[in-house]
Amino acid sequence: MFHNKLSYGRITFLVFMTHAIMLAAVLFRGNYKDITDMLQLTTAVFALDIVYMIVIRFFYKQMTYTTDYLLLMIMGCSVIFQSCFGSIGFASKHYITCVLALVCCQIMFLLTRNHIRILALKQYLYLVLGVLVLATVLLTGSRSMWISIGSLSIQPSEFMKPVFVLLCATSIMEQHDKKKLILFYVSREMIALTIAFFIIFVLQWWCRDLGSLPTFAAAYGCAIICRICYPRAKFSKGTLITLIVLGIALVALLASAAPAYVQDRLSVDIWEDTYGDGYQQCQALMAIAEGSLFGKGPGYGKLINVAAADTDIVFSTICEEWGFFVALLIIFFVASLLILPMINKPRSYFHATMVMSVAAVFVVQMGLNIFGSCNLIPFTGVTIPFISQGGSSMLVSGMLAGMLKSGQSPVFRRPDAVRQNSRRRERAA
């Protein structure tokens, strides 16, 4: 309850300093022709810092701000990274999506902080999920996940993530109301959730977008485990082991039945196929090696010429320009967002499950992106939350961050600290 020791002033300074140091790195090591190339970027980053800090501090009071500060720090870094890929400029589109993501974060925070209300609205969540599924089937192109409106592309399936996470977090009250169905004691909610997951699974398979499937599977898996581990779950160890074995068998079966392009990625030796299926990963690994610990310098990267350099292999692009150390640091910042609810504990079981599902989605997405692009696991086209370019992904990441924030307990000031402050004020008076 009393772990949040950073004051508003100190943490504001920290965020400003982080961005200032990064911009100084761009100034001294960056690839720009004229110093005015940096002007727009510098103004935009500091403007966002100032406006957000003021809004948070004076117009929108909360019980805890740590997630906001961390998120703002990550967003600023992300804008700087994206603006420097290949040459110094200003990634205006990415900047706008970052601002919108921050707004989404606050909206989702307001929507989900009251778990009683969310539990009451859970039938509408299924409705929203149904609408998103129908939108994907009816409005996107043939077997595609994208809706194109002019120059704007939206991926409705991305927005299924926060809805599905909320579905996973709800229904906990139903755990006491289980009925035996063939072998297991299950609740109606659990059956509904499984059907929802199955529909998403079929949709992703049909659209040949198997990259996002593990993120949904991770959230669903967490929800299942939560229910299995519920004190009155009536699950025996034997049933648990049977379920795990069945799960593994199912994954193996799906891997063997996966489409040819997936099979190729599962079995490719990238160094034997450096200009074919292994091209992106080889280039990504070479870029990391070339960047080494301190990077070539912002704007000096060559990986930007490779497809998906600012999305699917963005970790390597950052490594190349900023160095391995900075890339690891930014990933640590994103991971810290997930660690915060471990410090400010979740207030309810709903929030604990929600935080866990969000963590599962973020961890799987980051893992698939980073480990996939570095050839530790098969390569899939998913994004790193907040870092990769992509409107839908960024907005959804903002929403999920809002859920992380709402999952935390309010932070109170220490009673003795309050007393000390009042004494100081008295003395000063």
Binding site: I172, C222, I225, C226, C229, Y230, P231, R232, W271, T274, C282, L285, M286, I288, A289, E290, G291, S292, L293, F294, G295, K296, K302, G323, F324, L328, I331, A335, L338, I339, P341, M342, K345, P346, S348, Y349, A352, T353, V355, M356, A359, A360, V363, M366, G367, I370, F371, C374, L376
Partner: protein
């Protein structure tokens, strides 16, 4: 009660979240380890890293990534082109292609350093190499020489070669230009009789072998009635091993093989590094350059092919480098072969030197006593046939290898200089030299003189 259950569930949820984050962080640790340990490997594939130069033992440049005809004479690198290679990626199994990590101006911490000082300093003598290359004239072939005490390779020439300053179209190059033939398979001809002699002494003892005399009438019919021709149609008459070795008498060696037991013969050849009847031969590489050792088929000591294989024909193949290496054991009267090396020392990106020269040995496959006896026979052969022509006291064995079913003949000479102050072992191969247009003695003499004049 319900509140307690809820707290329990929250803690379990928390535990699972921590577990997820921990798994991810462990994955990140694995990634860091992978990148740190494999970064140099990734850089081998990178086109953005600059390479340093390769130098000979006196500092003359053998490879320069920025080389052009303005800074070097047109044929400056022509004698070492297929040995040292270039950075085009079209040549493999060369010093540059196999040592890009050492040559890269790359540091795992500071990354690509455009003005790094990475360099490789070799044991080669460029001037001697060039002299030997020129001595081949219009003939193709290979010549390799090294210090049989330390392992330093001084000369390694292969013709035809490739001029890295004027090299664009691979198809327009003569066959064999892109490989250094000293490291690849060739038919050894009668130089194989050195190995056969070593195997015979291993099996029977030198006394038995030296007491054996066989008759040569120009043609010999073996136990199965197959005809073994001698290059002298008049025959050499009755001879002992010294005379037979000097005469390179095929009937003598056919009879010697016939008197040997098959299994010990195969064992000795395997121990020497041969792949016998498709068995796996131990791998050999010189500073990353893969070298063929030898292969033969031995099925029956009375059989024509086995006998002929022991005389360096039939299916027997050996690399000139391996032929030279056995000479080190013979010259040193040792049961060990001195392993050759090309890299003397290297400089890293910061210019710090690291000594890479280390004399190492491997088993010769025969005993020191056998080596001493073979040395005696080879020195006698050198005294009688080569010392005057070459100008050095050498132990040697010549060979004539019939290739393409006898349509062409290669001439070979392997040996060593019997001088502890000039301990050189060598192997020379002149291709398609049936008319004796160019003598192996001339190439050897030129090579030894060039090394001595360093």
């Amino acid at each position: 009660m319900k509140k307690k259950e809820d707290m329990k569930c929250i803690k379990r949820g928390e535990f699972l979240t921590k577990l997820l984050i921990a798994i991810f962080l462990i994955g990140m640790c694995v990634l860091v380890f992978k990148i740190v340990t494999e970064a140099s490997f990734y850089m081998k594939h990178s086109n953005h890293v600059t390479l340093g130069c390769v130098y000979d033992r006196s500092g003359d440049v053998l490879f320069d990534p920025d080389a052009d005809t303005d800074t070097y004479s047109y044929d400056h690198f022509v004698d070492v082109g297929n040995l040292i290679g270039d950075d085009s990626g079209m040549m493999t199994n060369t010093l540059v292609s196999e040592n890009r990590t050492l040559l890269s101006n790359y540091n795992p911490i500071f990354g690509i350093m455009e003005h790094g000082q990475s360099a490789i300093y070799t044991t080669l003598d460029h001037e001697a190499n060039r002299t030997v290359y020129d001595a081949f004239g219009s003939r193709d072939g290979t010549a390799i020489a090294y210090n049989y005490k330390t392992g330093e390779i001084y000369v390694c020439v292969s013709k035809p070669n490739v001029n890295v300053l004027d090299f664009e179209d691979v198809d327009s190059l003569p066959s064999g230009s892109l490989i250094c033939k000293a490291f690849y398979r060739t038919v050894p001809g009668s130089t194989q009789k050195v190995s056969t002699l070593a195997a015979a002494i291993e099996q029977m003892g030198f006394e038995t072998v030296s007491n054996k005399t066989y008759s040569c009438e120009g043609v010999y019919y073996n136990n199965y009635g197959n005809e073994i021709d001698c290059h002298s149609s008049y025959g050499h008459g009755s001879q002992d091993i010294f005379r037979a070795f000097q005469n390179s008498c095929n009937p003598y060696f056919a009879q010697l093989v016939q008197d040997m037991q098959l299994q010990p013969l195969k064992d000795t050849f395997r121990n020497m590094g041969y792949s016998v009847n498709n068995s796996k031969a131990p791998e050999l590489d010189i500073d990353g350059i893969s070298v063929f050792r030898g292969s033969t088929e031995l099925d029956d000591v009375n059989d024509f092919d086995t006998q002929w294989g022991c005389m360096g024909q039939s299916k027997t193949e050996v690399s000139p480098c391996q032929l030279m290496m056995w000479q080190s054991a013979v010259a040193n009267c040792s049961n060990s072969v001195t392993k050759p090396y090309l890299i003397s020392y290297v400089k890293n990106v910061f210019g710090n030197e690291k000594d890479e020269s280390e004399t190492s040995y491997e088993s010769a496959g025969f005993s020191a006593e056998t080596a001493a006896y073979v040395r005696e026979v080879m020195l006698e052969n050198g005294r009688v046939k080569y010392n005057d022509k070459i100008g050095y006291n050498i132990g040697a064995k010549s060979g004539t290898a019939q290739i393409q079913d006898g349509a062409s003949e290669n001439n070979l000479l392997v040996g060593f200089v019997d001088d502890s102050s000039f301990p050189i072992a060598f192997c020379v191969v002149i291709e398609d030299n049936a008319g004796g247009y160019l003598s192996t003695e001339y190439i050897t003499s030129t090579m030894l003189n060039a090394i001595a004049n360093e």
